[in-house]
């Protein structure tokens, strides 16, 4: 094989096959790899996606790893130039892809244990890849508890999917919104208000959490109150992963490169870093 013209900055083409609106601003995109191969990612990893002429941006992979299926999903909030351009695409359109990049949730560690998944806002998107990967092997895990917190009911995403999960009995689902509207009948308050509502076998539970930057320190505080140790806590952190190769410097958390050392970190490994949480 000739490696002469290899450059890690060159994306490969993938094709948009399905687009599903999840809320006013969030859409799920399903892509198919043009090379005919599965993406071969691990839950928690991300890809760098290009709309040529507009730019490239990192997105968490939302679908679980698929062995024989060449599709994968991301879910995107329309907020900047690239996400705006993505939303304008229709099935059949192509985008450029680099990755998957970064670390992943250590699923093998979770085997035989209870797992608490804490999803704040768009945090459910990357956690979905972990959640559905585990559900495919449901017998291998103990209890699975999912906490979902959203700012207001209008912004909830994957509403039917989460309702189905709750109904299936495979996952215990707790949901809350910060700012309820007239129709909301569920819990009200930030995501930490869900913690007193659930009994956890602290010594036997792993936590995976993704949410807005402000969320982590409070949720970690709640985990501590429940008696969980740092090495039972896994977080995925957002930074500006521009090159995905640990070179461009934008995603640094102290000396860590989020794009290669993260985005998924065991809390033990980042506790000492002032810029992490």
């Amino acid at each position: 094989m000739s490696t002469k013209l290899f450059s890690p900055y060159v994306p490969r083409p993938v094709t948009l096959v399905e687009k599903t609106q999840l809320s006013d601003f969030v859409t799920r995109f399903t892509f198919e790899q043009d090379n005919g191969k599965p993406l071969a990612h691990k839950p928690g990893q991300f890809v760098n996606l290009s709309v040529y002429g507009v730019g490239e941006a990192p997105f968490s992979i939302s679908s679980p790893p698929r062995r024989a299926n060449i599709t994968f999903e991301i879910a995107v909030r329309r907020i900047g130039a690239v996400t705006q351009a993505l939303h304008a695409l229709e099935p059949g359109a192509k985008v450029g892809l680099r990755g998957p990049y970064g670390s992943s949730f250590p699923v093998m560690k979770f085997v035989g244990k209870d797992v608490l998944i804490v999803a704040g806002g768009l945090g459910y998107i990357p956690l979905r890849s972990l959640l559905f990967y585990q559900l495919r092997h449901r017998d291998e895990f103990g209890r699975m508890v999912l906490m979902v917190g959203t700012r207001d009911p209008k912004e909830r995403i994957f509403v039917d999917e989460i309702a189905d999960l709750a109904a299936s009995g495979d996952v215990e689902v707790l949901e809350t919104v910060d700012m309820p509207d007239a129709g909301w009948k569920g819990n009200v308050g930030v995501i930490t208000t869900l913690f007193p509502k659930v009994d956890l076998d602290a010594a036997n539970t792993y936590v995976a959490m993704v949410g807005p930057p402000i969320m982590y320190r409070f949720v970690i505080g709640e985990c501590r109150k429940k008696g969980m140790a740092s090495d039972q806590i896994f977080v995925s952190l957002e930074r500006k992963m521009k090159c995905g190769l640990g070179k461009c410097g934008h995603c640094q958390i102290n000396e860590l490169n989020t794009c290669i050392d993260g985005p998924v970190f065991c809390y033990t490994d980042i506790e000492a870093y002032q810029e992490a949480i």
Binding site: S7, Y52, G53, G55, A57, G96
Partner: protein
């Protein structure tokens, strides 16, 4: 390896020969007190006395603007762009060679940056022992007064019209002999080179860290909450000048442009700087280093600790360029590290 002695009258022919195959850059005087590596042309006067090239040599290996890929918006095909013109950098001071050695390690590690690697392969580095020291420089105190490798030839001026040239690579030796015979140095010439190095080292040592540079990471790990960061950074203009002139800063941004017909385009990387306000900003305008203090501290931690933890060397080679470039007068690794040292001296 062998050391040769070369005389000034041999230089024009050597330069002439090299310039036929390479883009040749030599130290030139721009105006009083300002020097830079400039393209060589016949009759170009060499500024042997230059204290520092105000631009660092990183621009030859990692240009301020460099195309990475071309893309086609219709087929969604993309191809790498590699540009690596053969070039000779004549007159690189050892601290800058050290900076290049660092870039080599950082950009080649993990998934190697192919654009950098190719440019580096096409570049011949001819180091030159400094004859003067830039006033804010402190390279002698951060282990950057000499380099063991990273150069193809190492030139030391031992007399008004003579140089010793240590060979660092086969390619260097070949280039040295490209315009006729050069003779191996006599023991006396070698002694002359040793004395020239000692002389400049003595001058350079007048300005320096008040402690062993290897203590810097340990020093910084105690100083995250020091009031110094705010004291200096409150004057920061967030202009990124310190990043631009730094020989070891290599952070970059990636942007792209399509042609008029929106069919094809180029994705280009540009130098970026961690002191710029938007450096750590993500979608939705959340900024992970919103305050000048956060950014200023990050830069010094990167130079003094993070790079050290990766490769065992300071990320600052003591060239003093940022000190001269900073409009607010706050970029000064020597002052910062020394003051932090004073602040924490009672803990030792």
């Amino acid at each position: 390896m062998t050391t040769y002695t070369v005389y000034k009258e041999q230089l024009p022919e050597l330069f002439e020969t090299w310039s036929r195959q390479y883009a040749l850059y030599v130290p030139g005087k721009l105006r009083e007190g300002f020097y830079d590596l400039v393209p060589w042309k016949k009759g170009q006067e060499i500024a042997w006395e230059f204290d520092v090239a105000y631009n660092s040599p990183k621009r030859f290996l990692l240009p301020p603007k460099e195309a990475l890929i071309t893309f086609n918006r219709e087929t969604y095909e993309a191809a790498p762009v590699f540009e690596a013109p053969p070039q000779i950098l004549f007159g690189v001071h050892p601290y800058d060679v050290k900076a290049i050695n660092q870039l080599d390690q950082l950009l080649e590690s993990g998934s190697p940056d192919q654009n950098y690697v190719r440019r580096r392969d096409a570049t011949v580095i001819m180091a030159f022992e400094p004859l003067t020291v830039s006033p804010p420089a402190f390279w002698a105190s951060v282990g950057a007064a000499s380099v063991a490798h990273g150069y193809d030839l190492y030139w030391t001026k031992i007399g008004p019209a003579s140089f010793t040239v240590e060979v660092g690579s086969a390619k260097g030796e070949e280039l040295l002999q490209a315009a006729g015979t050069v003779l191996p140095s006599t023991p006396g010439d070698k002694e002359g080179a040793r004395r020239a190095k000692a002389r400049i080292l003595a001058k350079a040592r007048r300005n320096g860290l008040r402690y062993n540079w290897e203590e810097t990471p340990r020093l910084l790990s105690k100083c995250w909450d020091s009031p110094l960061w705010r004291r200096y950074s409150q004057m920061c203009l967030a202009c990124g000048s310190c990043n631009l002139v730094c020989p070891t800063c290599y952070c970059f941004d990636i942007r792209e442009e399509a042609d008029d017909a929106l069919k094809k385009g180029v994705r280009t990387r540009y130098w970026d700087g961690c002191m710029l306000e938007s450096f750590a900003k993500v979608a939705g305008n959340h900024n992970f280093r919103p305050k000048a203090q956060d950014r200023y501290r990050h830069r010094y931690f990167r130079k003094g600790k993070y790079i050290y933890d990766k490769i065992g060397e300071l990320g600052c080679v003591g060239c003093g360029r940022c000190v001269r470039a900073c409009t607010a007068g706050i970029a000064n690794p020597l002052k910062v590290f020394n003051e932090l040292w004073e602040e924490t001296a009672h803990e030792y």
